[in-house]
C-alpha cells in the first residue's frame, strides 16, 4: 500500500520503470478526455535544489533522484465540471494518482507535495504563465518505512441511500 515517503536513497530510477510510470499516467481519464496535463521530470541536481525553497524548504525533495512536477493548461480542461468549475485540478489529481500508484507498483516511493508556492516553482523551472502548477512529488527508492497514517472510519465517510450526517 502506498505511503508518503520523506527519505530517499540516492540510487537512480531505471528508465524502464520511469517509462512505465509515465505510461500509466498518460492513460488516466480526464473531463471530456481533455488531458490538460504536462509533467516535468527533473533530474538535474541544480534544478532539484532550486525546488527546495519553493516547497517550503522540504529538503528531501532534492534528495530523491527524480522530482516530477505536475502542471495544467486551464483552457484544455472541461470548463463546466459539476456546472461550477474547470476540471483541471481534478484531471491533474487523477493523473498524479495514477503516477503515484504506478510508482508504488514498481517498488518506488513518492510523496505528493501540496505545500509549495506556485510562483516560486515557476521561477525555479522557468515555467511560462499559461501553466498552473498543481503538485510535485519526489520519486525514488525509499530510505524509511514509516507507519501508515490514521484515516477516518468507514462509518464517518460513507452513507447509504442518504446524504452524509456530517
Amino acid at each position: 500500500m502506498r505511503k508518503s515517503i520523506r527519505k530517499y536513497k540516492p540510487e537512480a530510477v531505471p528508465d524502464a520503470k520511469l517509462d512505465r510510470i509515465l505510461e500509466a499516467t498518460r492513460g488516466a481519464p480526464s473531463g471530456k478526455n481533455g488531458q490538460p496535463w504536462r509533467f516535468i521530470v527533473v533530474r538535474n541536481k541544480t534544478l532539484k535544489e532550486k525546488l527546495v525553497p519553493a516547497c517550503r524548504n522540504q529538503s528531501y525533495v532534492a534528495e530523491a533522484p527524480v522530482v516530477i512536477v505536475g502542471c495544467a493548461v486551464e483552457e484544455e480542461s472541461y470548463q463546466k465540471q459539476g456546472g461550477y468549475m474547470k476540471s483541471w485540478p481534478l484531471d491533474l489529481a487523477i493523473a498524479f494518482t495514477h503516477l503515484i500508484l504506478a510508482a508504488t507498483a514498481e517498488g518506488l516511493a513518492t510523496c505528493w507535495i501540496g505545500a509549495f508556492d506556485e510562483s516560486e516553482v515557476k521561477k525555479a523551472l522557468d515555467i511560462p504563465d499559461k501553466f498552473r502548477v498543481v503538485g510535485l512529488t519526489p520519486l525514488g527508492y525509499p530510505a524509511e518505512n514509516p507507519p501508515h497514517k490514521n484515516r477516518k472510519q468507514i462509518s464517518e465517510i460513507v452513507s447509504y441511500d442518504k446524504a452524509p450526517a456530517k
Copy 2:
C-alpha cells in the same frame, strides 16, 4: 486497464467487493491528511432515477446497481494547496481514483461523471449546503467493451529538466 463504461448489467455488486473498494478509497492520501471526503452509496432505484436528470439525462447512471456520489467538506481540506487553492477538489479526485482503480481490480466498471449539475444532485439526494458534490460514478458489471480512447503522446505531455514547450 480502466475504461469508462456506459452500459451496465443489472446484477448486484457483492457487498464484499463494495467494502474492499471503499476501504481502498478510505486509504487515499489528501492534503495535510484532511480527508475532506464523504461518499454516498446509492442503491435505491427511485433515488438513482432522480440522479439521471441531474446528470444531463445520462440514463445509464440509473442502470447500474450502484451509484457513488463523492462529496467534499471545504473546511476540512488544506487551505493553501500550492499557495493558491483549497485542496478539496484534488483530495476528492485522489480518493475517487482509488475507488475507480479498486473497482477495476474487482472486475467492476465505472464511469467518472463530471457533466452534472451540482444543485440538482443536491436536491435529488437532499444533500445539505455544507457539502460540495465533486463527482459521481455508476458501479456495476460492464455490459459493453468499448475501445480505449485516444491519449496524447508522451512527447506531448512530458519534458525533461525544462518547462513544457506548449
